[in-house]
Amino acid sequence: MRLEKCWFCSSTIYPGHGICFVRNDSKMFRFCRSKCHKNFKMKRNPRKVKWTKAYRAIHGKDLSGDNVFNFERRRNRPVRYSRELTHKTMAALKTVEGIRSKREKRHYDGRMKGLTDERRRNDRKELQKQVHLVKAPILDAGTASPSDRKEKTRIQVSSNHVKHGQTSGETSYD
């Protein structure tokens, strides 16, 4: 009994799960669930479907090409059973898994580096831009430093122009 990998999403298929399609050139395609099978039938390329392992590995979302993955491999060289070797392997398996999870964590952290900064910057910008929704800008202007405020200059114009100026002033409040 073996745990197989899904052809589409590369997840582990436990015995009794999924479906296997054997093409007439005897190539086997195993699928972990109907979702993957359907995607295969739709001729989708797993490298271009975002939720698959293949996509994530290619696009640097997941750790890939690391030494730690060289331990798990189908070696087509038969090895005669030895109890000691099996014990060693079992011990090594745990160690390797530990190292792998650590490296994955590191990979993730490296990927998320600078994200907090960006979020904070964006928050600040958002607040700056949209505070008028809850606070009158005039009040805000009052709190701002005097140097920021522009000095209003009074210009002498005809009565008609005054009317228009008034109209446009009101429009901005709406």
Partner: protein, 664 residues
């Protein structure tokens, strides 16, 4: 050449023949002709008939002449057989007559076609045609006897056995009732009739048998009596023909019991009289019916006669095989010695044929091309076959007398099939035999353990751990780079941001709701929209909603608005701002002479590029009028469920094919 006469087409009787040809002519040529036609056309019409009839005769007669084998062309055996069975002269004569008839018919057709060229009327042409066809038929009628004879010959020939004169064959002959057919039945699968009277077999029969992976033909001939050739009947003559012409081994069967009605002396006499026929052929004399009478029981004279036959068989002409001191004996009843006789015949014939081939001119050519290679050892080194050491060990154990218990024996000891389950692991070759029955984990934490098994795993793991330590140290060293640089928002800012987001979400939701609900509504201009109208009231509420003090702004707006004059309605006071300012110029010009009781028109504003109120009114009226018709027309649009024409012509007339009426 294949000697198969089954494919000859049947020969019709004369009257049928005539019917066939004439009706064919009638069917295949034009039938309508009128006296009014051009004479050339009439002539051509009848000429065609005559020619066509002649062609049909020619075709059919040629077919018959081709199908029947010519006596001179076939193998001499068949030629003689045809002579014996059907009388060669008669056969040849019949075929010759048909040939002549064919030529005569051709001649007649030629003559009459020539005459028809001079036919001057339809009647004459017709008479000429009649005469031509009539003469042709008369000729064929005269040969009715030949046709009937040929049909009989055909039927008989189709039933002749297909004998291949050139293949390996055994020819069985002897007096009637000596057991020729019985031998045939034993040796082959042919089911020849066997009866206890003379001449049961009246013609040659063929059966097939296998010897040395070769196909052998066994020919069963009718019995022969000892009398001069010209006195022999047809049945005997068939045997003689076969003996004379086939290159086969001759098996002469002697009935030792004399039950056939012929004494051994008579049988020996026959043997000697037909001996010339055996010349240049391997010969076997077999003694039959030894179940009735033993060879030892014979009288001295009979014994001498049989020995005489044996000597003849061993004569210089006959082939000799090593063991020929005794005549082969057999009993077709008890099947003793039958196979020995057959084998002896076959061996003899094979040897004979090989000798003949060697004697022929072509043998040398073949022999020159043959070469049997025997490898010469290149050195004195021994190159024995390789025997695996395990095999040698097991052989040694076997030699030492050790009993090897097989899996099958184990199964029998332990409850038999279905109960015993074989131990597949017991022959595992491991470092330690204790490990044979270890239970090995296959899956651990979602991994195949087998995929991790690697003899060099320790070294690789150590290397990985070293690498991991390095990476870890490097990672720790770079910790500071990963810390966020930007300061976080403080409490107030965060609260404010929360409020902003809530407010924005509400606005967006409201906008979406309105948009969805009022998707089809016209956009009302701000001027007439009560809520959005630009006036002091709205300005005030808007400013106040933002928490600003609107008093000053309102004051300013009011101070600038026009002072309402006395005599005006209070309604005008309510409307302030830009609208009022626009209106007042016109209103001032309203004639004082008009009675105040005249109701104020609702729409008397001038705008939209129109000069006066009147013009506006006129324009409104015209627009209404124009709209009226348009409204009416608009009702008969696609969306309206009206039926304009009850029965459209194009839907309800004309032919209809498949499909629905309303889809046409």
């Amino acid at each position: 050449m294949q000697y198969n006469f089954k494919k000859i087409a049947s020969v019709p009787a004369a009257s049928d023949f005539i019917d066939v040809v004439l009706s064919r002519t009638q069917r295949q040529t034009p039938t309508v002709v009128h006296a009014g036609y051009a004479i050339a056309r009439i002539r051509q019409f009848y000429m065609r008939k005559v020619k066509y009839t002649q062609q049909s005769w020619n075709e059919k007669l040629s077919r018959i002449l081709e199908d029947f084998p010519r006596v001179d062309d076939v193998h001499p055996f068949y030629s003689d057989l045809l002579n014996v069975l059907y009388d060669k002269d008669h056969y040849k004569l019949a075929l010759g007559q048909l040939n002549t008839a064919r030529a005569m018919i051709d001649k007649i057709a030629k003559d009459y076609v020539k005459l028809l060229k001079y036919g001057d009327s339809l009647y004459r042409c017709k008479q000429l045609k009649r005469a031509a066809l009539g003469r042709m038929c008369t000729i064929m009628k005269k040969h009715a006897a030949s046709l009937a004879y040929l049909e009989q010959v055909r039927q008989h020939m189709s039933r002749l056995p297909s004998i291949d004169p050139n293949t390996r064959s055994i020819l069985v002959c002897g007096y009637p009732n000596v057991g020729k057919s019985s031998f045939m039945n034993k040796v082959t699968r042919a089911d020849v009739e066997v009866q206890p009277y003379a001449f049961t077999t009246k013609s040659i029969y063929v059966g097939h048998t296998d010897y040395k992976y070769l196909r052998w033909q066994v020919l069963d001939t009718p019995g022969i009596l000892d009398r001069p050739l010209d006195e022999r009947n047809t049945i005997e003559m068939q045997s003689i023909t076969a003996l004379a012409h086939l290159r086969a081994v001759v098996l002469y069967i002697v009935d030792i019991s004399e039950q056939c009605g012929f004494s051994i002396a008579q049988q020996a006499a026959l043997f000697h009289s037909i001996k010339p026929l055996f010349a240049n052929k391997p010969l076997v004399v077999a003694i039959n019916k030894i179940d009735v009478r033993k060879l030892e029981d014979l009288s001295a004279e009979d014994r001498a006669l049989i020995d005489g036959m044996r000597d003849a068989m061993r004569g210089p002409a006959a082939m000799q095989l090593g063991d020929d001191d005794a005549l082969p004996i057999m009993s077709t009843l008890s099947e003793n010695g039958v196979m020995e006789v057959k084998n002896r015949c076959c061996d003899l014939l094979l040897a004979h044929r090989v000798e003949q081939k060697l004697a022929s001119r072509r043998a040398g050519e073949v022999m020159n091309r043959l070469h049997v290679a025997t490898p010469v050892p290149r050195d004195s080194k021994q190159r024995p076959a390789f025997i695996p050491s395990t095999l040698e060990a097991s052989r040694a154990r076997k030699a030492a007398g050790e009993k090897i218990v097989t899996e099958k024996e184990l199964q029998e000891q332990n409850g038999g099939a279905g109960v015993y389950s074989a131990d597949l692991r017991k022959r595992y070759m491991l470092e330690n035999d204790d490990w044979k029955y270890d239970i090995v984990p296959e899956i651990y934490n979602g991994k195949n353990v087998a995929d991790f098994i690697d003899p060099e795993i320790e070294a690789k793991l150590a290397e990985l751990e070293r690498e991991e330590d390095e990476l870890e140290a490097k990672w720790e060293a770079e910790r500071m780079d990963r810390e966020p640089q930007e300061a976080d928002l403080d409490e107030d800012e965060r609260a404010l941001l929360g409020e902003v987001r809530t407010r924005r979400n509400k606005l967006v939701a409201e906008h979406r709701r309105k948009k969805a609900a009022g998707n089809n509504n016209p956009v009302v201009p701000r001027k007439v929209d009560h809520e959005r109208k630009l006036n002091t009231k709205n300005m005030k509420s808007s400013l106040e909603s933002m928490g600003l003090d609107a008093t000053a702004a309102v004051e300013r707006a009011r101070s600038r608005s026009r002072v309402v004059k006395r005599g005006r309605s209070m309604g005008a006071d309510a409307s302030m701002g830009a609208d009022d300012a626009n209106e007042d110029g016109k209103k001032m010009r309203t004639s004082k002479s008009r009675s105040k009781s005249v109701a104020k028109r609702v729409k008397d504003e001038v705008g939209g590029g129109l000069k006066s109120v009147d013009a506006t009114l006129r324009a409104t009226k015209m627009a209404d009028k124009a709209q009226r018709k348009r409204n009416k027309l608009a009702k008969s649009g696609e969306g309206d469920r009206t039926i304009n024409t009850k029965l459209p012509k194009w839907l309800n007339s004309g032919k209809r094919g498949n499909g629905k009426t309303d889809r046409r």
